[in-house]
Symmetry: D3
Subunit: 157 residues, 6 copies
């Protein structure tokens, strides 16, 4: 049985993130979404809020869970007995940074990272672009779930 | 139990390919190396020779096998009940072409492709570069296994 | 009134090409699809066949025409009084080559090239990948029009 | 008649920006330079100053105007009846971000984005690099217009 | 006799930086490591501390020195009679930014920049990633020298 | 005294190649242009013709020579006591392939490769694009020297 960790900021989760989680849940026996809790950054949503948003989604699958973590991702992966890290890839600029992280994480721990391409229709989605659209009053249809859209609108109103 | 197909030309397999196979064997319960048999190309080694080279390597793991295939990769993957395709990634230029293939394969069959980064010290290895070195009489140490090196030298002598 | 030339091999035209033509027809008053007739290459379909495939599509708009050309694209553009060249862009690897061509064409003639991104769901489509799928007996649904699919199947049967 | 919006921060406008505006004015009947007014960023020059710098330049063409805007670019484009967004492209790293923006803007509004390559000799110019040079006392010849250079020197003295 | 300037922030120097310095010391008669002292940024280590770390390393070669500088790099290079700037390159994303800087520096001064690829096993190393690992308590073996590791641990304890 | 080898096909040499040679002659005490003689390719000009074209150019500097070679570049570099390989870089797609070659050459011999960016106005020039323009009857002004242009016209007439 292989447990995969899917790390990210998810501030907020987009439909692109949900797509990667769906694909990971298809491939691995257990999927653990790991929400980065970085004390030096100020996210729009707290780690608790982001975990709650992801648990709403995770409820659709029996093999997906979500949790926040602090510290090194590879330490968290080992504590949770996860064999691999899985990251969505949208574009080449993602790839180079993620490759650097993957090689650092392998150097630190021997844990492998696998990359899952997002579906093409979500390739232009990012949490920061979604926040810009929300802040400027644009429609969030097709970008995030209805539940996340409601929370974004409330936050920027 | 997840079976992963690792496709490629492997003409010949390099230490970079062996590195990807090792990583795949760590992560998935069963790994099936799928050697492309393309009637319109003239490889240096026949599909049978390439399968034999890979079986030598596969013998080190109990969960790795090698086989040649013709036709669409996704048809082969489904016939062999493989849930995912796994590809090694060395560099950004690989990535863009491989992403295109991954999205086409998902469109054709719903089968997901996962990308595994090669270890950094193998990032500059490719079968065609190795063949150039062999043809021009350079040392093959650190590029291919001793068995593959012997066959390359024989072929170019 | 601005006339735009949309050049390409279109061997065969994919749904991605149709998407770029649609977008060009939205933006420019006249669109002239220019089919490259390169005597040194052996396409699957003759220039006449490719022009016919594109005219079928062009018939949907009152402002789109298709024609074959030989020689320098910028000479053809000037003969047809086209002010700009318009190219679809799918991916970064396209971009670098196309940028080189655009700068060469501007150097030779002063004609500007504008790039139109394809819709994300067509980003993985290319004529050569479509020919591979057709040759190996895969489904062409969602890749090319029904008319083009029929001609591809006939060619590879 | 096609009106094109050319958006940007232009903090300050460089000779590369002027080159893109010139090319856009060649191709489109009307060009509207749209200066981003982002309340969460602290530019070196106010939106009014940047619009004034661009109007100096725009005065050379009868079909170019400049204006500041707040909010979503696609809302501004529709209010001004602009059919297309035109962006200069210098390099591949620009391209990936701009492609993401173009696809988001098309998703939000159906407005198309066209990319215009800058001339090669301006490919290394960016507003932030120009500000670094000015701040450190380097020569601004060949980077910005004499008028903009004067304002940069004043600002950093 | 050719003197080369190797500029950087080196906050802190990694084994990848040492690798580039070694290679530069092989190729050029004199190597001057130039530590950027940027008053608008807050580095983890002062310019003096970074110069000291690099001098420890420079002591291994008779032809390498380290110094801090303020202002334009090309002014510093000319003051020190350096004929070329040498930069390590790890990855494509580095390359595009560095190419822009190289062309700006050549425009400002006529000084050429040469790029030296880092060894593949250091391609994933960057000062900022190393600081993240140190901050989160990860092992610094294989990332920085023992002396730099000790200073990083002290800083983050 | 440092001798640098500048390898390439130079089929034919463009103004971009001359620009790189000029830059190399500025930086290194001796420059040896190494013309690849690949028996498996059919160039437009023989190795002798290409060496002659380059010697015409080399005559402008006292420290530049040109020679053809067969076999591994690193063997040639060592026979000629060259300490470094110098390559021009135009664009990111060049970079990735050249980085792979540089790392292979370092693995085979310990010889370092340095990359020299071409001037921006030559970034779109390549020998193959120049041959296309010549074959289709376009003007060669600003692409190659007058002497090379004359030979290209003769070859394609």
């Amino acid at each position: 049985m292989t447990r995969a960790v899917v790390p990210g900021s998810f501030d907020p989760p987009t439909l692109g993130h949900f797509d990667v989680i769906t694909r990971a849940a298809d491939v691995f026996q257990e999927v653990l979404i790991a929400v980065v809790q970085n004390p030096s950054k100020t996210p729009l949503f707290t780690a608790e809020e982001r975990v709650a948003m992801l648990r709403d989604v995770a409820a659709e699958w029996s093999n997906v869970e979500a949790e926040a973590f602090e510290g090194l991702l590879v330490d968290f992966a080992r504590e949770r007995s996860a064999a691999v890290i899985v990251k969505g890839l949208r574009a080449m600029s993602d790839f180079e940074y993620e490759l650097q992280m993957a090689q650092m994480n392998h150097h630190l721990s021997g844990v492998h990272t696998l990359f899952l391409p997002t579906s093409p229709e979500h390739a232009y989605l990012s949490s920061s672009l979604v926040k810009d659209v929300a802040r400027l009053g644009g429609s969030l249809d097709g970008l995030v779930s209805a539940a996340v859209a409601a929370q974004l609108k409330e936050r920027y109103s």
